[in-house]
């Protein structure tokens, strides 16, 4: 009994973090029907920016979170502008936007490192950049020759998303090196006893922060005019435009919010495990994606429930079956849900976007 409660608390902590990341996937999917594969990398960047801010400014949780949120907010908007918006836009500006965006990243990296060699010699970085540019060139070619009108826009977006994910994770590795970094304890951790249970204050704090942020998101989406516009755009883009809504602005806002949540999750994970790892973006991203699919992709309550269920299942699996099961559980759940109920727990019927 005691272990179960203890594990439940562990599960809620991890699950709350998965939920925070999953919300970004689900909101973006809800609004432009795109799996933003770079989202997990934005989460990872959040952890590193928090670490950098702590090293440069002050040893404080608030400083780390603020820096991560501001940087990742911009990064999310940037990713959308460079990798996804050109796919929607009906003009030959597309390659130029993406190329300029990628060039900006390269210049910043060169500037930050103080040398050119690392970037020039990093093969994987260039693979990512070339993927994005190839999609854009292909689009223009199709438009000029009058063929493939938006026919494969989902595949295009997917390739572009994978390219962006590679670019971001490689950037962090180029700037930081591929090794893990020790994360400072930004929050005091002490445990107190409540009856037979030992409760960790840090865990309680993480759970509380997750829920407060989820409520904040609920408030934005359901109680503000911008949230109303988000829902309108996600239901019917053209009708939303006829209301005078600028969809690009709403889509940017959606990326902003999702990225900010991921940034907080990044700092929380760093603080919780005392480690920042440039390689975890992919894995956390995939797990949060599983959480979003489990809850029904596009559904905000679904992402919350999916994240928590996944976190608890994972922790229970580790505790009662075997620690080596940890990652297998997430993908087992993914396969199971795709077979049994592909729309997820809260998913409505899949509506094809026209």
């Amino acid at each position: 009994m005691e272990t179960i409660v203890q594990q439940l608390l562990n599960g809620l902590t991890v699950g709350g973090i998965y939920a925070l990341i999953a919300l970004g996937y689900t909101m973006v999917y809800g609004i432009i029907k795109l799996i933003n594969f770079a989202h997990g990398d934005i989460f990872m960047v959040g952890a590193f920016v928090g670490l950098l801010a702590v090293n440069l400014i002050a040893d404080s949780f608030i400083v780390a979170v603020l820096a991560a949120v501001v940087f990742c907010g911009f990064l999310g908007i940037f990713v959308e502008k460079v990798a996804y918006r050109p796919l929607r836009e009906n003009s030959p500006k597309v390659v130029i936007t993406s190329a300029l965006g990628l060039m900006l990243i390269i210049l910043l990296a060169v500037f930050a490192r103080g040398d050119v060699a690392g970037i020039v010699s990093s093969g994987t970085f260039w693979i990512g950049a070339v993927l994005i540019l190839a999609v854009m060139f292909w689009l223009i070619r199709g438009r000029v020759s009058g063929r493939n009108k938006n026919g494969n826009s989902r595949i295009n977006a997917l390739i572009s998303a994978i390219g962006m994910s590679i670019v971001i994770s490689n950037m962090v590795m180029l700037l930081n090196g591929p090794q893990r970094e020790v994360y400072p304890r930004l929050l005091p951790d002490y445990s107190f006893s409540a009856g037979p249970f030992h409760i960790s204050a840090l865990q309680l704090f993480i759970i509380a922060v997750s829920f407060v942020l989820m409520y904040l998101l609920y408030y934005i989406v359901h109680k503000t005019k911008t949230g109303l516009a988000m829902r309108a755009v996600s239901h019917n883009l053209n009708a939303a435009r006829l209301m005078g809504i600028n969809p690009d602005r709403i889509i940017s806002f959606t990326f902003l919010i999702g990225s900010c949540l991921a940034a907080v999750a990044g700092v929380l994970v760093g603080t919780y495990y005392n480690i920042a790892d440039p390689n975890v973006g992919m894995m956390y991203g995939l797990k949060a994606f599983v959480a979003a699919v489990l809850g029904g992709i596009g559904s905000i309550p679904g992402a919350v429930v999916g994240g928590i269920v996944l976190g608890v299942a994972e922790v229970m699996g580790v505790a009662f079956i075997s620690p080596s099961f940890r990652d297998a559980i997430a993908f087992g759940i993914l396969i199971f849900i795709l077979i049994v109920k592909p729309t997820g727990l809260f998913g409505t019927k899949m509506k094809e976007k026209v």
């Binding site: 009058g146 109303l228 829902r231 309108a232 009708a239 939303a240 005078g244 809504i245 600028n246």
Partner: protein, 234 residues
């Protein structure tokens, strides 16, 4: 007020509009009638910037709106009630109305206008908290019109508002169109229900396969032999 000059629009390589020139004057109700597939909806969507013309120009109140983004066109007071109503089915009736006033900042005046439009369509006020998708077809059309009015339009583009509605609803909606017009809003009305449309309009255009083939006072079109044969079923 609104002026289209030789507008051509295409989907892929097929031209849906082949040089359309029409205009709407201040305070008028003008109708475009024509068979299914003639290009009526494409005309309205080109005006609203939902689809883009390949040549020709669109002017609204003296400004060139040919390549303006839709939301800017809406901001200038040119509002469309689209074909098939396109209300937001998962939002409440009230939220649909508020979205109509998305660009307005004057909260108090918006609240007043909610009262005004529900005065025009009393059925809506009983259904404020209901989801848009649960309304009947006629009620959805009322909501679509009410939502458009929430933006205080200068010119209202209406795409087949009578489509699929029972005669009672059609009567109701056309009398509201007349009332809106009396309060000063110009209307460009697209209809297959040519009889109804020509009876409220002052002028009319007849459209066939992407071209305007006839243009006259509405009363003259109602009397015209070939129009009667082709569109009025007489």
């Amino acid at each position: 007020m609104l002026k289209l000059d030789s507008v051509c629009t295409r989907y892929g390589n097929i031209y849906a509009l082949k040089g359309v020139s029409i205009h709407v004057n201040e305070g008028e109700i003008v109708t475009i009638i024509g068979a299914n597939g003639a290009g009526k909806s494409t005309t309205l969507n080109t005006i609203s910037g939902i689809v883009r013309s390949v040549s020709g120009s669109v002017f609204f109140n003296g400004a060139d709106i040919t390549s303006m983004p839709t939301e800017k066109i809406v901001e200038s007071g040119l509002i469309q009630v689209p074909e098939g109503r396109e209300i937001f089915p998962l939002l409440t009736v009230y939220e649909n109305l508020i979205l109509g006033a998305y660009l307005r900042k004057d909260k108090a005046a918006v609240a007043k206008d909610v009262e005004y439009v529900t005065g025009l369509f009393p059925r809506l006020s009983e259904r404020f908290k209901q989801l848009g998708g649960t309304l009947s077809g006629g009620e959805q059309q009322m909501l679509a019109i009410a939502r458009a009015l929430m933006s205080k339009p200068k010119l209202l583009l209406m795409d087949e508002p009578s489509l699929g509605l029972s005669p009672i609803y059609v009567q109701n909606i056309f009398s509201v169109i007349k009332e809106i017009n009396k309060e000063g809003t110009a209307v460009l009305l697209v209809e297959q229900n040519a009889n109804m449309a020509l009876s409220v309009a002052s002028r009319g255009y007849v459209m066939e396969t992407g071209k305007i083939i006839m243009e006259d006072k509405a009363s003259n079109l109602l009397d015209n032999e070939s129009v009667r044969a082709a569109y009025l079923g007489i």
